[in-house]
Each structure stands twice: as C-alpha cells, then as structure tokens.
C-alpha cells in the first residue's frame, strides 16, 4: 500500500517559542490504515494533525524543517484549499467548528467550497445524511443539538467531501460512554464502506476497543500505574443537603444528601441536565428549593470563566489559601506558576481551576467533567488529589463520562436521565446492574471486567 502521509525528519517550532514542539519526527502512514496518535498533553499531537492538513505552518508562521510528503508530493506543492478536499478534519470543540445555522446549510457550505454543481450537491447531501444516519437532522439548527450530535454532524461534513484521509482530534472527548461506543462502531462501518485512512488523536483508548491497527506514541509517556479502586473515606455526618431542587429549562425536583468525605459521580446521557444540575446547586442559575451549605466550590467545563488574576500563582492564591506552592507542585503547575492563566493549555487550565478551588478551602466541591482531555499522568494526579482531599473531609460531586475513573473513585452514583433524578445508588449496585447502566448510557468499566475475569 502506498504512503498517504510521510514525515521525514520533521522539526517544527512555533515562532515565539525556543524549543521545537516536534523534533526529528519521521513516520509514514499507508492508505487505508487506522492510526491513533497518543502522548501526554502539550506534546504536539494537535500540531502534528495541523501539519497533515496544511493548516500549519501557514496559519502560525511556524518554522518547519525536514520534508513532509502528502500523497507522494511535497506538501508545499499544493495550492491553498487543494489538500483539504482530500484530507478532511473533525475538530475537538463541538461548539466552534460550524459557520452556518442549519445542518443542511453547513453541508452545502462545504460543497460550495468544492465548486460542485447544484444538482450534485442535492445528491451528495442526501447520500451523506443517509450514510451517517442523520437524515432526521437535515433542517435542525446546529447550535441547539447536543455535543454528540454535533460531533456526528462535523464528521458528516468531513465525509461529504469524499476524502481519502480523515483526521480526528479527540472526537469522543465530550460524549457519554454509550454514545462514544456507538460513534466508534459507526466510524468502523464507515471505514469499511469507504476505505478511508483514519488518523486520530486520543487519550481514552479503552472505548475504541480494537479499532486502531497502530499506535504512534509521540513522547514516551512516563509509566503511570493504572488507577486502583480507592477505599472509601465516607463519614457518618452529612455535609450537603439538596432539597427539592428544580430549575429551568427541564430539571425536575431533585433531592439528595452527601456525606462528609463522600465522592459521588453524577452520570447520565449527553444532554440529560447534568451541567444544569451543578449550576443550580451552586446557585449560578435561578432555582427552586434549598441547598445547604450555600457556598460550594465549582469547577466549570470551561475553566477560563473562573480566572480573575494575571498569573497562575495569584489565581490559586486568590481565595486566601495557604500552601499555595505545595498545591502548585502537586498539580504539576509549578513550572507555569508565572504564566497567565489564559495562556496555558486546556488541561492545565482545568488543573489551575481545581487547585484554586481546593486551596480556597471549600468543603463541598462540584466538578464539571474534570477528566475530559486529560492524559493518564494528569488523571492519576487528579485521582490522588481528590482521594487525599476526601480523606481530609471534603465532599466531591463529579460529572464524568470516564467510566474507569468513576469506577475507581466513586462511593456513590447519582443517575440523571432527561432532567429527572433516577436516584442515588451505592457505586457497586450500579456496576452490577446492566439495565440501569444502559438506561443511562453508561458502560461497565474495564476494571470491573478484568476483575470478573480473574474470578472465573
């Protein structure tokens, strides 16, 4: 099979940074391969992807040495836009990759870029929607769809160009496990039908099963021990009371209590109202009902929103906490302590936000998807930190789609479906009950499965 992408001794550096982000990189990808690129955050995975579709170096004035061949020709010999018809990309952020209002218009936008005649557009739109099973969304308004649906539409927009190579930047980072699994199966079928080459960036490989044929590790990741199931640190007395909370647009009456030192995972399908519930608990949106205590620590999905100061150090110290340096070291933030909080990577921002809340000494902390987009090392660090704090008596309520993480950390699980609380269950009960999992778009975690295999 011929090579579609071939990096030959490529070194790439951003204009304002001294160290090159990619150094003497050589790799080749053959037609029809399914390749995953892994590595710790900030090691240049996205840069590599952007070099493949020629967004870089033109858009960032970066310096590229070595040779990069696409389809056997030097990448610089293509005119702008030419390569994008053959190498399509699905980006990470479901909110910032559309420019039209409806799905149909968005697909048509892509086809207009290809200068197709109008009759052909009609046919291709019909075909791609049929192929991807999205026909019912043809006239839907994109901004009103859920994250999972948006990601599928982004994929449809890439496929409608009939590309030879599909680049995916953490496509399932925002999806619930069940939807993610469906997405992977769907992609598998598409790959078989269309024979496209797939190159993906991914942190969470477990959901992909044996989808990928080859794993390219960009930087040797430090060996991290896999997460171990923690022993509970739950205490007798309650530390948090939520009494018949309801909020617009569709959150129905919710009541539950959390104990001191308890770690609870809030789970449910995409768009079931998890973020809304968290915001209501923190009184960020108008709510009916009462919560106690009123002062909660909150780490939002976009951590930028919390930042008030000019450096990471000041940010963590803002609430007047002590041991700021210790906190910075533990969360691997000491090297960026003087950087502006907006200027660090996404994973690092979330860590800054978590550190700020923890050093603020808030007794109950709610987190909105702290695990998405984190590499193994950061995840295990986060795990240890939450574990440690909960032993010190802090109560945690965490929204996460990462079932391994939930399995290892949760004492109990709150299940939410369609704005309605199914109930609060001890974690073990949920992992045992497959129907309950399926109803809430969860999947059994690997840790549990391997343990069961040991027993048999």
């Amino acid at each position: 099979m011929p090579n579609v992408i071939c990096f030959n001794n490529v070194t790439f550096s951003y204009p304002d940074e001294e160290q090159p982000i990619l150094k003497n990189l050589s790799l080749s990808i053959r037609r029809g391969e399914r390749v995953v690129i892994t590595g710790p955050s900030g090691c240049g995975k996205t840069t590599l992807l952007y070099l493949c579709n020629r967004l870089f170096p033109d858009n960032c004035d970066g310096i590229l040495t070595g040779s990069l061949e696409l389809f056997g020709k030097d990448s610089f010999s293509y005119i702008p836009g030419e390569i994008n018809h053959r190498i399509a990309t699905v980006f990470q952020d479901p909110d910032a990759q559309f420019c039209m209002q409806t799905v149909e218009e968005e697909l048509a936008f892509t086809l207009e870029n290809l200068h197709l005649p109008r009759e052909e557009m009609e046919i291709r739109i019909f075909e791609v929607l049929h192929l991807t099973g999205l026909s019912e969304f043809r006239h839907a308004i994109i901004q009103k769809l859920s994250g999972g649906q948006k990601q599928r539409i982004a994929t449809a927009c890439a496929l409608i160009m009939e590309p030879e190579v599909l680049l995916l930047d953490e496509p399932i980072a925002h999806l619930d496990p069940y939807t993610a699994k469906k997405y992977v199966e769907w992609l598998d079928q598409l790959q078989i039908k269309r024979k496209i080459t797939i190159i993906a960036i991914e942190h969470r490989l477990d959901l992909w099963g044996d989808f990928f044929e080859r794993n390219i590790q960009l930087n040797k990741t430090e060996d991290t021990t896999p997460l171990q199931k923690r022993n509970t640190s739950i205490q007798e007395n309650a530390s948090f009371l939520a009494n018949s909370i309801s909020a617009k647009p569709f959150l129905q009456e919710v009541s539950f209590t959390l104990n001191r030192g308890e770690i609870t995972v809030l789970a449910g399908p995409n768009g079931s109202g998890k973020s809304t519930l968290l915001k209501a608990l923190c009184q960020l949106i108008p709510l009916n009902g009462t919560v106690q205590p009123e002062r909660l620590g909150y780490v939002p999905q976009s951590p930028d929103f919390l930042f008030l100061t000019k450096s990471v150090h000041e940010e963590v110290a803002f609430g007047g906490g002590n041991d700021v340096d210790k906190m910075l070291t533990r969360l691997k933030l000491i090297t960026i302590a003087d950087d502006h909080p907006f200027a660090v990577s996404h994973g690092q921002k979330r860590r800054v936000a978590i550190a700020a809340m923890l050093s603020d000494g808030r007794d109950v902390i709610v987190m909105d998807e702290p695990t998405s987009g984190q590499d193994a090392a950061a995840l295990s660090e986060l795990f240890q930190l939450i574990d440690e704090r909960s032993r010190a008596g802090t109560t945690f309520l965490i929204v996460t789609h990462d079932m391994e993480f939930a399995y290892c950390i949760a004492d109990s699980i709150l299940l939410l479906n369609n704005g309605r609380l199914t109930g609060k269950f001890p974690a073990a009960d949920v992992w045992r009950n497959e129907n309950l999992q399926l109803d809430h778009h969860l999947l059994p975690p690997k840790g549990l499965m391997s343990r069961e295999a040991c027993f048999t």
Partner: protein, 251 residues
C-alpha cells in the same frame, strides 16, 4: 401578496431603500417626509406580517429623538424670521421655526420607519447570501459576518456564565458605579480571549473544509430576482414619487 415584503430580494430591497433615503435628504419641507412615512407604513400594513407591538417598542427611541429635535428647534432656532403664529411665556414661535422643527422630526420618523421596515422583513442570512449572489460581495467577508452572527448568542450566554463564576469565587461587585464599570473588564477579558480562540478554531474549521475565500461557482441556496420584486420596487417608487410631488396634488 401578504408576505411580499418578506419574500422580496434583500439586495434589491436594500438598494431601493438607499435610493429612497438619499432622495428624502433633498427635501426640506415637512410634508414630503410625512407623506413618505405614511406611505411606507401603508405598504408595511398591506404587504408584510410583522409584530406591531415589537415595532412600536423599537420606534420609541425614534419618537423621543424626533420630539427632542422638534422641541430644541422651536426653542433655540437661530432663524426667527416670519410671522409669529403662537406665543406663550417668553417664547414666540414663528412660522419658519415651526417649519424647520416639523421637517426635522418628520425626517427622523421617515428614516427610522424605513430602516425598521428593512430590519423587520429581512432574514440576516438571506440578506448576506443575496449580497454575495446579486451584489458580488466577497465570500470572505460574507461568511465572516455569518460566523460572527452565529457567535452572538454564545457570547451573551458566556457573559452571564463568567459573571456567575466570578461571583462564586467571591469577587464581590463594587459599590461605586465607575469601579463597577472598570470591573466589567474582568469579565470582558476572558470572554474576548475565548472569542478570539473560538474565532481561530472556526477559521481553522472553515479552512479545513476547503474554504479559501474565492468566488463560488454555484450556490445551494439560490436567491433570485423575480416578478414579485418588480412589483414591490414599483410600489416603493410610486410612494416615493407621490410624496415628492405632493405640491402638485395638494393644493
């Protein structure tokens, strides 16, 4: 015909309204803009389906401005020649003054009703599409504007979320109004930083889909100029002509 103004080609509508406005600018008597304003309203009543309550709400600031012009011209006008037609307290209102005052305020009403007609009967997306197809606007600008338009509601939501998150962190709002205004920058900076990042990823996404900014050879949503546009254009021109020639038919 009841939706004729909504169905009209947006570019043509835009050009017609521009012509109307420029023509109006050359008439300094009060009656031309008044008649024109009435004509526009009649057109709107007959050929469009809009929310009149909302229309009135949007007109309020224009009514206030129009009255402001009227009053200040009456009180402060320099040209006080002509016979006095009304006097009270220390004010003597002359015919010239009243003439100027009325013409200024009617002019404001004419321009604002014209603008609102356009705003209320035009879909922004269709307008941009039509600008691109009929008036050869560069796709770079056109799609840029459209993406910006998509971002507006997102930015509004983010402003609220950031405000809430800051309150949660214990950043209490300042009591002094000036300091509070300065404090808004703390919200605006993350919002703008986010907006720049969003704009960048949107630009990347567009480029990754093969958008280069060059002219398109065919469009999916074709915006045409049809018979209905001819009829509407004729109606606008009749209203314009009738109001401009009012001296001939109002004795």
């Amino acid at each position: 015909m009841k939706h004729a103004l909504h169905k009209m080609n947006p570019s043509l509508k835009f050009l017609l309204l521009t012509v109307c406005m420029i023509t109006m600018a050359f008439f300094f008597d009060p009656w031309t803009p008044l008649l024109f304003c009435i004509g526009i309203l009649v057109l709107q009543i007959l050929f469009s389906r809009i929310n009149w309550k909302k229309w009135l709400l949007f007109m309020i600031p224009f009514f206030v401005t129009a009255f402001g012009y009227f009053w200040s011209t009456i009180v402060f006008a320099e040209d006080q020649s002509g016979p006095v037609i009304w006097s009270f307290w220390v004010l003597n209102v002359t015919e010239t003054q009243l003439h100027y005052a009325l013409s200024l305020s009617f002019r404001i009403l004419a321009f604002s009703s014209l603008s609102l007609l356009f705003a209320f009967t035009t879909n922004p997306n269709t307008f941009i599409m039509s600008l691109m197809q009929q008036l050869k606007l560069s796709p770079k600008i056109a799609y840029g504007v459209m993406v910006g338009y998509q971002f507006l509601p997102v930015l509004k939501d983010e402003f609220i979320h950031i405000q809430q998150a800051h309150r949660l962190r214990g950043a209490t709002p300042e009591k002094n109004a000036l300091q509070r205004l300065l404090g808004v920058r703390r919200i605006l900076i993350p919002m703008l930083a986010g907006a720049v990042r969003k704009a960048e990823s949107a630009a990347f996404a567009m480029e990754a889909r093969g958008f280069t900014g060059e002219r398109r050879t065919s469009y999916f949503q074709v915006i045409t100029v049809s018979k209905i546009d001819g009829v509407c254009a004729a109606l606008f021109l009749i209203v314009l002509l009738l109001s401009c020639t009012n001296r001939l038919w109002i004795s």
